[in-house]
């Protein structure tokens, strides 16, 4: 458990023959940290998250997540690793439209037995996020705020070590944003999850343990900007 949540060393990445998107000499995130990651669009935020989640390959350098060298995992093992250890929240449209709320929340556990074993009580998680009354609803009947909380419940169920949230609040209004963030913090603390929160909304940044600007540690963007 002593290994950091995320370690990146000399990571370079480009899509096929495109320009270099990432060039990160060094990035370490400790376990349990709440990180606010920001940067303008096109600065490589989503690409970085793809590397951490093990969806993108073909980089050089070292990416270690929860002590696991991602390059050493084969395709299906990477998917299983993500399913078992990482929760992921998108900006929008997080939910499978043809499943109920409860089915959406329990889906990762059903796809991955390892995650399933850790999965706690669905109603407990739902209660903490204030959506226990929605469990049997169809997701198409939910408001955006409710949808994001269901997505959070799914990502948090089973207490993943790393929770990645890709601008999850950008489609919420101010009040909902505050409440959503509080709920997220509360639950991450409960399961001792590391939180990597991506946003361009700097007004939220103060609530986090540490703020990282992608422009600061991603040299690829700097050189490109210089050109």
């Amino acid at each position: 458990m002593s290994s950091p949540a995320v370690v990146l060393r000399d990571v370079r990445f480009r899509y096929r023959s495109g320009p270099e998107i990432l060039d990160i000499p060094e990035l370490t995130i400790a376990r349990g940290e709440r990180i606010f990651l920001f940067g303008p669009s096109g600065s490589g935020k989503t690409t970085l998250l793809g590397l951490l989640a093990g969806v993108l390959t073909g980089y050089t350098g070292t990416v270690e997540v929860l002590g696991q060298d991602m390059a050493k995992l084969r395709g299906s093992a990477r998917d299983a690793f993500r399913g078992a250890h990482i929760g992921y929240i998108f900006q929008l449209f997080n939910l499978i439209p043809y499943l109920t709320v409860a089915e959406n929340i329990t889906l990762p556990g059903r796809l991955h037995p390892a995650r399933g074993k850790q999965a706690g009580d669905v109603t407990a998680v739902a209660k903490r996020l204030g959506i226990e009354h929605l469990l049997e609803r169809s997701v198409t009947q939910l408001s955006v705020g409710q949808q994001q909380r269901v997505a959070a419940a799914r990502a948090l169920l089973g207490g993943p070590e790393l929770l990645i949230a890709d601008e999850p609040t950008s489609s919420l209004d101010f009040d909902h944003r505050e409440r959503f963030l509080d709920l997220l913090f509360e639950n991450c603390a409960l399961s001792n999850s590391t939180l990597l929160f991506v946003s361009h909304d700097r007004s939220l940044a103060a609530k986090f343990d540490r703020q990282l600007s992608l422009l600061d540690f991603n040299r690829a963007h700097r050189t490109e900007a210089a050109v």
Binding site: A53, S76, G83, I96, P97, Y98, L111
Partner: protein, 423 residues
């Protein structure tokens, strides 16, 4: 199991396209199974036009020809056999029963068959069905005639109507000079429908055939003044000289081959005996091409149904890119994405097959009596034949195979999109 329930729910979510796809596969499947049933039905009807007859015996000639004129009333015999020879075989110790046929006359395009009471007693079709009378009874008098059901229906005859028999079997009315107008027959009975060629003939006694030709000489009508009026004719003074062929049933099946050989080598007269089943199969092989053509057409219909499924799955993929990204994010690998789509397409094909089977059995249940009435085709309502099961299996298998096309596309999408699809 998770994937199966996902696939099921995803299909249910797109209810309209799903049900249209299932319906189109179901319809083409029903068509395929229907054609298969009609094939089986046609073959069975064909093979069952005559049952429990071990041998058909006639003058030496082609075996197909003998079958055609004796069973299907098609074509003509080149030679008759003597009544003595017939008596010889009829009284043979191995023989259970015989049905003699005397052919060559007609009535308005329908064949007239001279036969005996044994015809009504022993003739069997469709395994063990027996002739029954819709009205009246078998001929009791030389000038009585029994009508097959098609004859009665087409010509609108009732019991007691007078029927004039024409010499020869040319279609339409007999040549005026050649008919037996001086000796009209009276309808004594009408047979129930059998859906076999029996329905399309008229039946009189063997003596009746003799009677209408009694004053003829060398195949020509009597000269003026030489006619013998009907009033002078009775069953007792009519001597049957010839018949055309006869059906024969052996006491034991084993005796059949022995008896066939005996008849074929009979010294007194050149005769031949054929086993109806063998010759029927020979005949079926020559006319079976039509069903093959039909089969090919239905297979193409199935292909079109499956292509429809491919199109509907493939076009749904773009709106489902988001869904795939979500599945990826919660740890579903490309393998699971592929499996999901293959399952969906397999489920569609399976549901289509179920619908097709239900449809065809419902339809054949409803239409079986009508088809039998109208076309004389008995289509059995039965579980799928071996061929039917093979078709069902093949279509489900093809559905699964076809699923790999959209699955491959989805796989490419997920690789390109990763977790980054913005909608």
């Amino acid at each position: 199991m998770v994937l199966l329930s996902l696939a099921w729910k995803s299909l249910r979510n797109r209810l309209l396209t799903t049900s249209l796809t299932v319906l189109s596969i179901g319809l083409s499947m029903a068509l395929l199974l229907g054609v298969e049933n009609v094939r089986v039905g046609a073959r069975e009807s064909f093979a069952n036009t005559i049952s429990q007859t071990d041998l058909i015996v006639g003058a030496r000639g082609g075996s197909l020809q003998l079958l055609l004129y004796s069973v299907f009333r098609i074509g003509q015999a080149t030679n008759n056999i003597s009544y003595e020879s017939y008596q010889h075989w009829k009284n043979h110790p191995a023989v259970a029963w015989t049905i003699p046929y005397s052919l060559g006359d007609s009535h308005r395009g329908f064949r007239v068959v001279g036969t005996t009471e044994e015809f009504y007693q022993h003739l069997r079709f469709r395994r063990d069905r027996q002739l029954e009378f819709a009205a009246g009874h078998s001929p009791k008098d030389v000038f009585d005639v029994v009508l097959g059901s098609d004859v009665a229906q087409t010509l609108n005859y009732k019991l007691g109507d007078k029927v004039v028999i024409a010499h020869g079997v040319a279609a339409g009315r007999g040549i005026a000079d050649n008919d037996h107008a001086d000796k009209p027959f009276t309808v004594s009975g009408i047979l129930k429908k059998t859906a076999t060629p029996v329905d399309r003939s008229l039946y009189i006694q063997l003596e009746g055939i003799t009677a209408v030709h009694i004053d003829w000489a060398d195949g020509a009508p009597p000269m003026a003044g030489e006619e013998i009026p009907a009033s002078k004719i009775s069953k007792e003074n009519m001597k049957v000289e010839q018949i055309t062929s006869f059906l024969l049933r052996c006491k034991t099946r084993i005796a059949t081959l022995q008896l066939q050989r005996e008849i074929n080598t009979y010294k007194e007269e050149a005769m031949q005996a054929i086993i109806p089943g063998v010759t029927l199969q020979e005949l079926w092989r020559t006319i079976g091409y039509a069903e093959d053509a039909l089969q090919v057409v239905t297979i193409f219909v199935i292909l079109v149904g499956l292509l429809g499924m491919l199109v509907s799955l493939y076009t749904s993929l773009n709106e489902r890119r988001r869904e795939m990204a979500i599945l990826r994010a919660i740890g579903a690998g490309p393998g699971k994405i592929i499996a999901l789509l293959v399952l969906e397409s397999g489920l569609l094909a399976f549901a289509g097959c179920v619908v097709g089977v239900v449809m065809i059995y419902g339809l054949s249940f409803i239409f079986q009596p009508i088809v039998e009435q109208q076309f004389g085709l008995y289509v059995p309502v039965q579980p799928p034949t071996t061929a039917g099961w093979i078709y069902l299996g093949a279509v489900i298998f093809a559905g699964i195979l076809i699923g790999f096309v959209p699955a491959w596309k989805a796989y490419r999408n997920t690789l390109a999109d990763g977790l980054s699809v913005r909608v």
